[in-house]
Amino acid sequence: MQSGKSIIIENISKHYGSVKALENINFSVDNGEMFGLIGPDGAGKTSLIRILTSLLLPTSGNAIVNGYDIVKDYKKIRKTIGYMPGKFSLYYDLTVEENLNFFATVFGTTIKENYDLIKDIYSQIEPFKDRQAGKLSGGMKQKLALSCAMIHKPDVLFLDEPTTGVDAVSRKEFWLMLKKIKNKGITIFVSTPYMDEAELCDRVALIQDGTILTVDTPVNVVKSFDNPLYSIYSDNIYYLLKDLRALSATKSVFAFGQSVHITFNNGTNIEDVNKYLKDTGHSNSNTKIITPCIEDCFMQLMSVKS
């Protein structure tokens, strides 16, 4: 990999009939990077991952994975990548150990040979190795699927929404596992609809409606947020939202947990806003300036686009 790039994507488009799932995608992923593809369902994440894993042909454009062309050299790509699709693709009637054994055999290796690589993850489910995969909890299925996807020591690991439908604790654990895998030198390409997971990646691509909104490090994405962002707290978020939307100075306002995140048109005096809030009955409202998170940025980029 003379270029130091694990994945190079050039002008990839994918159309299904008249539906444009992907439009002109361009970016690259460095060796050993943890790269996040972040966007809601239907944004085109799965199509892109399937193209990069040689499972789909792009309508136009091309891509290089591990130095191999995804169309011409698909056989070579399949030897060097690991792939975990959106559904945990396990054989539910096979036990934990039988699943792992089978996938090891498919790649011409054995559990023993690469045990070190998966030890951290697999050891957590090893006590249940005789249980059928269908009877595992969601978190355990996820760990087994990950073990299966890595058993052959891939150079690049593709994970399609590994944390969807998984509770917050299991999600945290999963990202810790990914960190450890990354530290072993494996490039990770992971997609997720959860914006908060962006901060755990080295770099991210934000994707919406088949186009890339931005590609950068999470820090730089946040820096690119060009308006001061305020957080306003009030007892009743519903009325707070309504009142702020009625205010002409408001540029964008979104609920964020207990408070709202808001940007104003240039030249707005924040004291005027506070006064307005007191007047509309938000007696104990509290306004402060904050650093935006990825989700703020995503919404801003989305609004700019449309």
């Binding site: 369902d41 917050a168 979104f254 964020f256 207990q258 609004s303």
Partner: protein, 242 residues
Amino acid sequence: MKETIITVRNLSKKFGDFIANDDLSFDVYKGEIFGFLGANGAGKTTAMRVLCGLSKPTSGDINIAGFDVYSQTELIKTNIGYMSQKFSLYEDLTIDENISFYGGIYKLSNKEIKEKKELLINKLQLNAVRKKLVRELPLGWRQKLAFSVAIFHEPKIVFLDEPTGGVDPITRRQFWDMIYEESDKGLTVFVTTHYMDEAEYCNRVSIMVDGKIAALDTPVNLMQTYNAKNMDEVFLKIVRFS
């Protein structure tokens, strides 16, 4: 005083030796947005099924909108709405057909269905696409429509099972706007979610661990009690250390 609309006392549900719900007791108030959180496999789905009258508890007294879960399940069903991420609308029917179908299920008259349908379609601005199949709608729109259909028969309580999974952040907030609006009108909303910021939108939140309710309070109080700066931390602390 607050009017109670869901009363749960000592709810237990067992499957053989396995205890899915262990002695749950809580109240939900009218017009409240009640967040029902928990790790995967903690027993949320089981409890939700019992509350919707879909399965009988092993023991306990449960009253939903004034009706008993053992003897009045049919009455419960006409007084609640239900929507889940996985299934809520028929993808191979049009928007029009879906609304009429659900109206029909809840025995609304044809006239009523027609009138309310026009209102709903105008409100959601779906007039241009009303003859399209639901499968052709973007996910966010679909979920908003599904929510509207779930409350089409004006139930007292609506149960939402992970309604916003995978929806983009802007549409997700529009979805919550709809929830706020209905709750303001008096609808009780019982919702599960994996997004912790959404947990903060709820009036009160319960967190289930291993079949039991480990915590139940307003988000602000929970954050204080657990000395956490957001619900995400609260959740982590409770689930990991209980």
